[in-house]
């Protein structure tokens, strides 16, 4: 999963969101050790200090934790990750609904369109 940054919002916020996404997707599995900040910054081509800020924010929310001698780890708390997943899913869904409304779809139409798409995908 590449790092995608848009130019209109603060970089550290976008980094935070994408690390959350990567944790939920299991790219950084629960309980695993995170790569060093410098490496992550280099991979995303961002300033290490900005990456550090994003990671510090995630530590505050409990998704990451640091053991002084061995580094930074992803939380083992399954419930917490699930909560984040729910939150991200809701955010995405809300954005989707917003756009569909702007296109002039009402709820029934949206649901119909979704189930049709789901069926097509199954095939």
């Amino acid at each position: 999963m590449p790092w995608e940054l848009t130019p209109d919002r603060p970089i550290y916020i976008q980094l935070t969101e994408q690390i959350e996404l990567k944790i939920c997707a299991g790219i950084y599995p629960r309980g695993s050790k995170m790569p060093p900040v410098r490496e992550m910054a280099r991979e995303a081509s961002v300033n290490p200090n900005t990456m550090q800020r994003a990671l510090a924010g995630l530590e505050e929310s409990g998704l990451l934790f640091t053991i002084r001698t061995s580094g930074r780890f992803v939380t083992k708390d399954e419930k917490l990750v699930k909560q984040v997943k729910q939150r991200l899913a809701r955010e995405h869904a809300r954005k989707f609904l917003d756009r569909m409304h702007r296109l002039g779809f009402d709820y029934e139409e949206i649901l119909a369109a979704l189930s049709k798409l789901a069926k097509e995908n199954k095939k």
Binding site: P7, D8, R9, I11, R38, R42, S45, V46, T50
Partner: protein, 233 residues
């Protein structure tokens, strides 16, 4: 000692009737990557040359880690000028030798590794290299020093996008978070995400000095977009 690695107060430089740097007062803290942004001929190069004592100020002063530009500051500063300063007759190993001889903080292995990545051999002559390659060699030399302050004048000047990625990667890979990088450029979009703080300079004056995230938060715009707005012709 203050935590600022680079301080200047009321720094002014005039060339005849032209004022290139006009009363700049500025503190750049330790441990950040700062973009010095402005259109061509806005005074960026002049400012960096003043910091390196290649120009003598008309008035005001610069201090680097508390020192006036001179022997002490030259030890701490790694400077990339906007032009090529390499002798054409030299081989890569000659210039590496020169850096290693004079800069105790020059890391020969680091330079060797990066040159190898570009398929540049130690026996290659600079004469045979393209302008872009020479620029990269120069950047590699400058970034292979473990300096406290890097002053990079237009490091991504005339190079193609692939080379730009390489250069950004060289800067990030060698950046020690305790050190400070000040880099000047007019191509902001490519470089915005590695900057922490930006300084807009227009006609020799500082017109904005903020962190990138703050600019994005407050204006909802990228630094690049803001730059285009501020410097619209």
């Amino acid at each position: 000692m203050s935590s600022a690695i680079l301080e200047c107060s009321n720094l002014t430089k005039t060339f005849g009737a032209v004022t290139a740097v006009d009363g700049v007062t500025l503190d750049i803290p330790c441990g950040s990557i700062v973009g010095l942004l402005g259109p061509n001929a806005s005074g960026k190069s002049t400012f960096l040359k003043l910091c390196n004592k290649l120009l003598s100020p008309t008035s005001g002063e610069v201090r680097i880690a508390g020192y006036k530009p001179g022997m002490e500051s030259k030890r701490l500063v790694s400077y990339l000028p906007e032009r090529s300063y390499l002798n054409d007759w030299m081989k890569v190993c000659d210039i590496i030798d020169l850096f290693a001889d004079f800069y105790p903080d020059f890391n020969k292995d680091k330079a060797g590794n990066m040159l190898q990545k570009l398929n540049i051999k130690r026996s290659d002559r600079l004469k045979t290299m393209s302008r872009g390659t020479k620029e990269k060699v120069q950047l590699i030399l400058v970034m292979s020093r473990e300096a406290q302050l890097y002053l990079l004048d237009e490091p991504i000047g005339g190079v193609d996008p692939a080379a730009r990625d390489f250069i950004l990667d060289v800067i990030l890979a060698n950046y020690d978070p305790a050190a400070t990088i000040v880099l000047s450029t007019h191509l902001i979009a490519d470089i915005e995400r590695i900057l922490e703080q930006v300084i807009f300079i227009k006609e020799g004056r500082i017109i904005l000095n903020k962190t990138v995230d703050k600019i994005r938060e407050e204006s909802g715009k990228s630094v690049d977009a803001l730059f285009r707005e501020v410097f619209r012709c």
